[in-house]
Amino acid sequence: MRLIADLFLLIGSAFAFLGALGLLRMPDVYNRIQAGTKAVTLGALAFLIGAALLFPQWWAKLLCILGFILFTSPVSSSTIARAIYLSGVKPWQARAPESGPVSAEPTEGRP
């Protein structure tokens, strides 16, 4: 039992680490948000499941924290993305792809 719990804890930490690494490596703000939010949210999910396996009597509070993170983490990142988008930052474009133009309408939804 403890081994499974530890594996979950390890997976959670690894995803949190990957999220932070993505935050450092990605070329622009939007991609950083993507890497940060997704990986860290799954990291929290796995870590808290691991914690619940380790201490089953805490499941209620862990469920609260988990639900809260699952609900608010995308909200806050979407809010940041919206703020950045409205303040006029354009998405980063990879230059010189293998064939043709990078993307037909990269800014099609702009106001």
């Binding site: 390890l10 929290a44 870590f47």
Partner: protein
């Protein structure tokens, strides 16, 4: 409880994640980058506080994690709205 090898490794990974996110927070280069880094930092910190509850085997820290998460969320959203309002 005393952490075994896997748990120590998990703690080290979490610490490294916090440090890397902090590097992005310090480097910037723009204000939105710092907000994104701060957002990621708060979620990782929430996980880390939950991990502290495990190590100390005391459920009080889970409440700390929950309250920290709530306040951090409000803070990040407030800062995001501030950036948005500051557009020219």
């Amino acid at each position: 409880m005393t952490p075994n090898l896997l748990e120590t490794l998990a703690a080290i990974l979490l610490g490294a994640a916090l440090l890397i996110a902090l590097v992005r927070f310090v480097l910037g280069p723009t204000a939105p980058d710092r907000v994104v880094a701060a957002d990621t930092l708060t979620v990782i910190t929430t996980i880390a506080i939950a991990g502290l509850a495990l190590v100390l085997a005391s459920p009080v820290y889970l409440d700390v994690a929950l309250v920290f998460g709530v306040l951090a969320f409000v803070g990040v959203v407030a800062i995001a709205r501030a950036i948005e309002g500051g557009r020219s």
